[in-house]
Subunit: 484 residues, 2 copies
């Protein structure tokens, strides 16, 4: 038995000796039933105090690695056989990782080394974020919020719930009180809570196709069966809804990612369908704060008399997705069940953040911010639409007048959009196709939209838009005369 | 056609008129095809400017509620029929809410009006939280963290990942680098991410029975099939593991909620089982920071040579569950897949909180805090064990020397534990049975534990413990002579 023990570092000699002996037992140098050297002998061999050896042996005994028999010494325990057997075999091959479900369809494009123009959609401009103001509010709330002693409200800070209710009343015509609101960490958590609360395994969820990937992921997360419903220029094609579904997810204000507003007729038809199907309607009131014409339909929730519409929203598109502040409005029975799930999943929100946001809304700062940045985005959008009309004449803009991006189709003179986006990336221009920014699960039909390119103006500056669009045109048509 | 329109409030006359007309269309007073009054007539009737009426009509047209025909006036649109049909029917009965799954088994006991002693487990003492220190760090990080401009690390702030790796090296003998760590919002999010990443529908998950409810909820959330495995005084009874499972969840350091430490033999057997079954082992290293004797086995992760053990932990039991800081250590392939899921589910963590926590750990404050509070909890535990030995002689303490609670069984002279807890609550003493604090899914077998009472010492002060225990005894045995 060659143990080659060393005295270890001063200050942790017991631990060091214990670990060396443990290692020898685990790797099989010391076998089950072996007698450990007498403490005096080992102490001399290693050059440590006898008490150190005794303490290390005691720890081996305490951990089940050795047995001490009075008067007979210390023996490697019988129980280590399993451990030694485990280590005597070669490690198995690395385990395969099942990996995320739908998400595996998403193959993010590698970023080019040089980014000249970023036309990717989905994010507001960080440069427009009121950092100084927000920090002051946040610091003030962190300094005075007693994180631990006071009772915690599962639905979120009451001040923020009240502020959100007022905000939705003013900006979206929704009649709600603080009692109707559950604060979430953004839209994604709201969808996740709804999916977990309302869906049973193998329930059918109807979802727009193409659909916002994150929503798709939320419902697939609970292993629902997702059925895509096509989208045309009036939004979700309600005639193509499945006859049965537990829930439908939609973005009526600005279909994500295509952009059309769901017409009033379609909204009414969808509610009628939901009544017949006995289904919940999840209305993601996404991208509504920035509107560029009068087509500002009130949310479906204002048409709902049956407590069927579950309304979600957030500050991710107006302020920043990094703040993680969103909300869910639901009838009392759903709200109670959602809170039961939330208690297990994520009981404690960021109280200081929520209180700072309540003040940000109540002081009118959110409204001012939306107005101020809305003017900036409107100007960018105008320049982009002009540039597209001029530079990309074979593309059509899907009508829709909200949000931070436009979507173009090119059905008249089809080209390979993936190839276009790859060529753009090579020239440092970032954008995405509808296909890579969404999940399509329906068969395309005449009049419905299945692919296109998305041009975001959330983060690109106005002065860069003409050049960026010209670059996209160059990648689409080559440097020669424009294919008009 | 009696519309009874009123001029509305100054400042929003167009909106007011629009909403009144919309209401009349939606509720059917104005029907599809009806001609709206000429603008001049309506303006005079209501007492507003003609331009106001024109603008309100334009909005109706824009929203699809009306059609303007040049020279012929404005008509209620054909598309509103669906809407009117919807509203002409009586609202359907309120939708039934499927509700959470396993969680429905949990019926929280109503709190008594007066709480004299709180022996519920699972939370550290908020009075021991270093609020002043933490706030100073947090404020400093909120003030200087640029929330938006700098790149965001999906796995969490690098400083915190490095600090956690060092902390786990020192306190748990784990060899890890910042690269191995994913920061989560506590253990629950780590379990949720693992469940979503690694499980396919109907996969079998083996779980301790009784099990920590929140873990049960995480795996049930993705609709896994949960199989309970009984627990005895050496922890999980590995002989009773199912022959096949995709994953096993366990709390080897201090089984939740019973308290035994999983013996080394069992740990080795569990790893051997996992190899044969091709299963992942999720090790929830819960409640390990507070240890009261030498039985401090290193985590199973230190025995794992195959990248099979996925290790999770948090500051919830040492600092506070309200901070929402936890971690997951996983082999590279799992980590990459987890991050792919996290990108959809919850890409942005609380950066300022994470950076403050990194400093809290790096400055040695966490270690000092655990030492300081550990002495307080050790004293409470000592007093509680003495009081239990004296006052509750028919109960047995399950051996285990970590955490913030002890668990008692009363198999020798069984009594109705639910009734005991109810009687205690009536006298203002809060505690829970194992049954209500956990999910049991296995058939009890000889030697395994299926019920008991849990006495937490996380929030009760040392001086109150003898009286609280005496009160429990009074509820167990009545006021008469003790049933010994």
């Amino acid at each position: 038995m060659e143990l080659h023990l060393h005295p270890g570092e001063a200050g942790d000699r017991v631990g060091s000796l214990y670990r060396q002996l443990r290692e020898a037992i685990v790797d099989g140098r010391l076998r089950s039933g072996d007698r450990l050297p007498p403490t005096r002998t080992l102490a001399e061999d290693v050059g440590v105090a006898r008490a150190t050896v005794t303490a290390a042996y005691e720890r081996l005994v305490a951990e089940g690695l050795a047995d001490g028999r009075v008067g007979a010494g210390t023996f490697v325990a019988a129980g280590v056989r399993a451990l030694q057997a485990l280590n005597s075999e070669a490690p198995a091959a690395p385990m395969p990782v099942a990996g995320p479900l739908a998400l595996s369809v998403v193959k993010p494009r590698p970023l080019p080394s040089e980014v000249r123009y970023d036309l990717r959609h989905g994010r507001p401009d960080p440069a427009l974020f009121p950092l100084r103001e927000w920090r002051a509010l946040h610091v003030s709330e962190v300094s005075r919020t007693d994180l631990l002693r006071t009772a915690h409200d599962l639905a979120g800070e009451p001040a923020l719930r009240a502020a959100v209710a007022r905000h939705l009343g003013r900006s979206r015509g929704i009649a709600a009180t603080a009692e109707d609101v559950v604060i979430t960490r953004g839209t994604q958590q709201a969808l996740d809570l709804l999916a977990r609360t309302l869906l049973r395994p193998a329930d059918v969820v109807a979802i727009e196709s193409p659909a916002y990937i994150d929503a798709f992921a939320a419902f697939e997360g609970v292993r629902a069966r997702l059925t895509g419903v096509p989208v045309d220029r009036d939004g979700l094609v309600v005639d193509r809804m499945p006859s049965r579904a537990a829930l439908v997810y939609c973005t009526p204000a600005h279909q994500s990612p295509l952009g059309p507003v769901m017409s009033l007729t379609r909204r009414a038809a969808l509610l009628a369908w939901a009544r017949t199907a006995g289904a919940w309607v999840v209305e993601d009131d996404y991208d509504t704060e920035y509107r560029y014409d009068h087509r500002a339909l009130d949310p479906m929730r204002t048409l709902d008399r049956e407590g069927r519409v579950l309304y979600v929203g957030s500050v991710s598109k107006t302020l920043s997705p990094r703040l993680r502040v969103g909300w869910l409005l639901a009838p009392a029975a759903v709200r109670a069940a959602v809170l039961q799930v939330k208690e297990f999943l994520d009981p404690f929100g960021e109280r200081a953040t929520q209180r700072a946001m309540a003040r940000f809304i109540d002081d009118g700062r959110l409204a001012v911010h939306v107005r101020r940045t809305g003017a900036v985005y409107a100007a960018r959008r105008e320049v982009l639409l002009e540039a597209v009309a001029r530079e990309l004449p074979t593309f059509d803009v899907i009508p829709g007048a909200a949000g931070l991006h436009i979507t173009l189709t090119c059905d008249r003179e089809p080209i390979d959009l993936d190839e276009l986006v790859t060529r753009c990336a090579r020239r440092g221009v970032l954008l995405r196709t509808v296909r890579e920014a969404s999940v399509s699960t329906s068969t395309p039909a005449p009049g419905t939209v299945s692919d296109g390119i998305i041009l975001g103006f959330g983060t690109i500056e106005e002065r860069d838009i003409p050049a960026a669009t010209a670059e996209v045109a160059r990648c689409a048509y080559g440097d020669g005369p424009r294919a008009r």
